[in-house]
Symmetry: C3
Subunit: 312 residues, 3 copies
């Protein structure tokens, strides 16, 4: 798919992209764009197992930095009835948890996600510290098993990172169950790396014209809550609003080397507290839509983005 | 498309590719080749706007250096009736000016363009100092609007380079109008970077079997003229000849830090004066052709190239 | 095609991948995978010459190192009747010699070739020191001519490497002739680089259910023999066994700077002597197969690999 638009970020003209940085001679408003081409290949054996693989080539321009495209790491799979085994650049069980991402085409606010501040497992500057499919890099190089049957789905993933002084592993699992209009989901991650143990719970309701979702995560001691609602307006528009609240890190963790997110502490990233956003989508037909969004992060950073998003 | 052939450059066996360089142990004759694969994607909205994107993967071998392929930066577009808006790796209004490039498949002489010495906006070692679509890199990351209606076409482009200490912008525009067999065109560029302001004028005539073109550019004070003629021979052959004349840089600009192209000055690049070339093309059918060309640059460098060029 | 599986290599947990290395904190068993996408393009001229080109994008994970995909260097060709001219990332006449590689889908043992110890032109840690098509890099940037007519085939290749202090060239040729169930082949390489002159001879028999092959190479003074046999079992299975024997390097070559492969010499790579392996393949249908193999190299390194291999 492709997407392009304008991104206003009040800190883009500051060194280090922080409000206290010196002016860097750049504009607060920049082009943000992505073009992604996905290659899917598969074949089926005589016994009914589907074997396949996927990789992507993606070109991005974000926050002043245009880029060429590169292939990512490949993911391989074998599917038999409800079971799927995947190897390589895996999705990851936390990443794939039901009710984690926003119900927008960009899975976040605006045209490029705007930092994905809306996700309850992103806290304290420790973003995306779980195994996730990488579109631009080589990914987790792990193994995972997915299973789906009727209203139930489950997912277990495992990866081992050989690139470190000693190898470190991440194990994660998720489950989801749908009863009527509501879906409940849970995900956990156990990691050898510091401050990465996570528990995630969500409950989502799909009530025809309205959608509502409540999500909570314990990020190795830092709680974050999110409440999300969206509504169809007419036949082509949808509007989404959300609010999140992030707790403070414990003083003991900071002493142990963890980032500090506490408000009113010198050197802190100030991520403690409330963030919110609003996103508007208008369907242009032919797989294209107009997408616009504003969000105020819990560290008081404002972004405004608008653009078009289209599939081929 | 693909193309491959042999390139004789009298300075390829010299360090720095200059005639006064020491022998570098290499051959004057080398393989030159390019393989380019273009990915075009588009969709149309209900209101008749076409949205799309393009990127390319290209592998080159030129002047002793074989290369693998890489994707370039993406270009996005929205087209509605005669108007086209493009974002990202834009074409650029100077690059797209009518009557700028040679009337050959390679847009220059020989099989790889041979340095594109024939173009009147390339002077004084300041080649391609305008916004142009980049097949190998990320390009200008700008915005442009194109318009065409009947015999008229126009094009305005804007880019801002955030990669510099302070951001620098380039604005360019072109217009062309066709009256009968003749087309007149003009292009201008205004740049924040030194010595990049340009004015380009061309008049081209398509007289059945014959083609003739006169082009002139003022390259921030350095004039360059070009006169070009080509003729079909039989049903499959075409021969093209050209001559260019480049003026000297002013002494004041050299003092201000500009390259020196004056003949008989020590340390000069000697690009002042006359260059010329001849190119022959033979259509092999099936989208393939044999292409050969010789050119003598204004700095007395001779190249001879021959090879095949084919589309898929 | 794609392939993925597990690779046990007894030295993967050792620094430098050698048995005497310190433990490196990694696992002996790792994921090995490759996803390759090939782009082939061609056109035909009116006179019946086919012009075309090929490049590949390939993502690999091998021996603890996952990788993204990159394009390789392009190869161009022109084919007319039995003759083919190729330019760029050429195959190479030694690489293309009949009877050089194992009769498996991976052309080696296991799922990723396991170091291709079975090939008689790989000796003394001087692996793949001939011109060969490169799937991940730019390759040899050479020129070659192939000819085939009935039972006869021949191939001459030439490349010149401009990347070195002085340019170095490799010339190679092969011939093969099939008489009934048997095929004899010979290949030679003459190189400007040290210790790369090679002579290769093979005789292969295709006896219905059974295949047998004897290969020999003189690797600039180091002889290596290989004996290979494979047998179909039932309709879907095939089993292959081989044994190789590598001679010692001469003391004079070691003094002249060549690697030392002699057993019981301090600092030697110990590649002198006998290596062997066994490979099992089971056809899963749909272009997919299960592949497994064990080999013991002449330097006493054991690998066990099993996985699936599939084409699209």
């Amino acid at each position: 798919y492709g997407r392009f638009g304008l991104d206003y970020n009040e800190n883009n003209d500051r060194v280090g992209n922080i409000a206290s940085g010196a002016l860097n001679g750049r504009s607060e408003t920049n082009i943000t764009s992505r073009l992604r081409l996905q290659f899917d290949m598969s074949t089926e054996t005589d016994s009914g197992v589907t074997l396949g693989a996927r990789f992507r080539a993606q070109a991005e321009s974000r926050d002043n930095a245009p880029g060429g495209a590169a292939f990512n790491g490949a993911r391989f799979f074998a599917t038999y009835e409800g079971f799927t085994l995947q190897v390589g650049n895996i999705i990851g069980a936390v990443e794939n948890a039901t009710g984690l991402y926003l119900e927008t085409r960009t899975a976040g606010v605006g045209i490029d996600g705007a930092g994905f501040e809306s996700i309850v497992t992103n806290v304290n500057g420790e973003s995306f510290n779980w195994d996730a499919y990488s579109s631009a890099g080589v990914g987790a190089n792990g193994v995972e098993v997915l299973y789906a049957a009727g209203a139930f789905s489950g997912h277990i993933s495992y990866s081992e990172d050989n690139g470190l002084p000693t190898s470190a592993s991440r194990v994660a699992a998720n489950m989801a169950y749908t009863f009527g209009d509501w879906t409940g989901a849970i995900a956990v991650q156990d990691s050898d790396l510091a401050f990465e143990d996570k528990t995630f719970v969500s409950i989502s309701g799909d009530l025809g014209q309205f959608g509502v979702r409540l999500a909570y995560a314990d990020n190795d001691g830092i709680d974050k809550w999110g409440l999300y609602g969206n509504m169809d307006i007419g036949s082509a528009s949808n509007i989404l609003v959300y609010v999140t609240d992030e707790d403070a890190v414990s003083a003991a963790d900071v002493v142990a080397g963890r980032n500090d997110n506490r408000d009113a502490i010198a050197g802190s990233n100030n991520r403690e507290g409330t963030g919110y956003g609003i996103h508007y989508s208008y369907d242009l037909g032919g797989g294209a839509s107009f997408e616009a969004g504003i969000r105020e992060s819990s560290w008081d950073n404002t972004t405004v983005q608008a653009g078009v998003y289209f599939s081929f």
